[in-house]
């Protein structure tokens, strides 16, 4: 019997999602025994032309991580969509836009300016910038071009399932593979993780007060953090109440507040706005000035509430003047 073919690919990604596959440790052997990995650029020497040569829909499942922000990534997303029966957006970047999605506060020009010119650690006296065509010694190469706007995978191609996390845990990956192999998948479009808020599965949930009012928000480096007590009750911006569970509260167990990488539950449209609303409501003051003072310690609202989800939020990007 031929084994189902599986592909892994990365787009605008940090490599962390690839680490999840490696972190399967011995269990990767079970996966390899059950499936045939036909494409995995980070570990195996396959090329784009190998994928192009495959018949359409011949890949049973493709796990694609990373956001889409270059012409090449867009092409690869279309190619892998065509070749795969099931396409999974793997990790926050592919699902929600992720950390690279914060580039939607800028545009291509300002990103390139910063990275190639202004950045203090750069020496680039000739002001060299990436360009689409490069010719040297009679050879010519075409480079992909950066987009103005970072996109989620499902803003480019049709996506069947989402595996959340930055990165997803090996357990979630294994469960997704097992569901695919066993053919017991939820309806198309589902997020392959529990549909409850993180607080539900948090070991500190019993110390989370029903009624909480705060006069101060602290950042982790400003606080001596109690290891038992709910982090929100300690004035830390723990995104647990507005974030999907499934990570088993890894960050909280490491005594760090949740930053929201699992994205919203199915009942929330815009997790950033929801979290903003939840935290603002906790402010223990009715006086405008005082409210401003207390909320002032949230230095970067977009970076805090949309750390992983700006491209998939209602506004998607910073406004570009027409």
């Amino acid at each position: 019997m031929t084994k189902p073919k599986v592909a892994f690919y990365w787009c605008a990604a940090c490599g962390g999602c690839e680490e999840t596959v490696v972190d399967l440790a011995e269990q990767i052997l079970d996966v390899v025994a059950a499936v045939d990995i036909v494409f995995w650029p980070v570990a195996l020497d396959f090329k784009r032309k190998d994928v192009e040569a495959m018949p359409d829909k011949s890949i049973a499942a493709c796990f694609l991580n990373g956001a889409i922000r270059t012409t090449e990534q867009e092409e690869m997303a279309h190619l892998l969509r065509r070749k795969s029966q099931t396409l999974l957006a793997f990790g926050s970047c592919a699902q929600l836009g992720g950390i690279p999605g914060l580039a939607n506060l800028w545009q291509r020009e300002s990103v390139l300016e910063r990275v190639y010119q202004e950045c203090p650690s750069n020496v680039n006296l000739d002001g060299v910038r990436p360009s689409r065509q490069y010719r040297d010694n009679g050879h010519s190469v075409t480079l992909p071009t950066l987009f103005d706007t970072v996109l989620t995978l499902d803003q480019v191609v049709d996506v069947d399932y989402y595996v959340p996390g930055c990165p997803p845990t090996p357990k979630l990956l294994l469960e997704a593979v097992q569901a695919l192999l066993g053919g017991n998948l939820p309806p198309k479009g589902a997020v392959l993780a529990p549909d409850h808020a993180l607080c539900e599965e948090c070991p500190r949930k019993d110390t989370r007060p029903d009624k909480l009012m705060l006069t101060e928000f602290k950042r982790p480096h400003e606080a001596l953090i109690d290891e038992e007590k709910c982090l929100m009750a300690q004035g830390l911006l723990c995104m647990g109440p507005a974030t999907r569970g499934g990570c088993e509260a890894l960050c909280v167990k490491g005594n760090m507040p949740c930053t929201g990488c699992f994205g919203p539950t199915s009942r929330v449209k815009d997790s950033g706005a929801k979290a903003l609303s939840a935290f603002a409501s906790l402010v223990n003051s009715n006086d405008e000035k005082e409210i401003a003072g207390i909320l002032g310690n949230i230095a970067d609202p977009v970076g805090t509430f949309y750390r992983y989800s700006l491209p998939s939020s209602l506004l998607r990007r910073k406004r570009v003047e027409a």
Binding site: S131, R132, K274, S277, N286, L295, L314, R317
Partner: protein
């Protein structure tokens, strides 16, 4: 209504008015045949505290040029705390909107009681004029264009 593409720009303002105060003020303005700018689309909510920041973002994302929220005066909320909750959220929401490039004048919170039809009229007229001066919001994601980079180096 003219939308800027066909004729002069007329701002579209989505207004979330509390059932117990600002909504009644707009009723009163109507029955007293008061004239004010016709640019608001009013959504009645039971309390300004019901205005989820998602509603505001959704309104902008769907083409509103401005969002006006009207609630009961401090101390007068029928649910005690609702308007204070809105006040707290409003502060953080405004900072978020600023980061997203949406000008201050496009989102406004007013306390207007059921009797203050005049205040409602003044607030709406003032907001419409300010948003008119800013022009349409245009939140569309710009099309990616690469042609100018097709030049060769070396």
């Amino acid at each position: 209504m003219p939308d800027g593409n066909h004729g002069p720009f007329e701002p579209r303002i989505v207004a979330f008015f509390c059932n117990w105060c600002t909504y009644l003020a707009s009723d009163l303005a109507g029955t007293s045949r008061m004239k004010y700018a016709p640019n608001t689309r009013v959504v009645r909510v039971m309390c300004s505290g019901r205005v989820d920041p998602q509603f505001v973002l959704d309104a902008f994302a769907r083409g509103a040029d401005g969002v006006l929220i009207g609630g009961c005066h401090p101390g007068d909320c029928h649910y005690q705390e609702g308007n204070y909750k809105m006040l707290r959220r409003f502060h953080l929401l405004k900072r978020l909107l600023a980061q997203m490039g949406i000008e201050d004048e496009r989102c406004r919170l007013e306390w207007i009681s059921a009797a203050e039809a005049d205040k409602l009229k003044a607030a709406v007229n003032d907001m419409v004029e300010k948003v008119r001066a800013l022009g349409p919001l245009h939140l569309a994601i710009p099309k990616e264009e690469f042609a100018e980079e097709e030049v060769a180096v070396s």
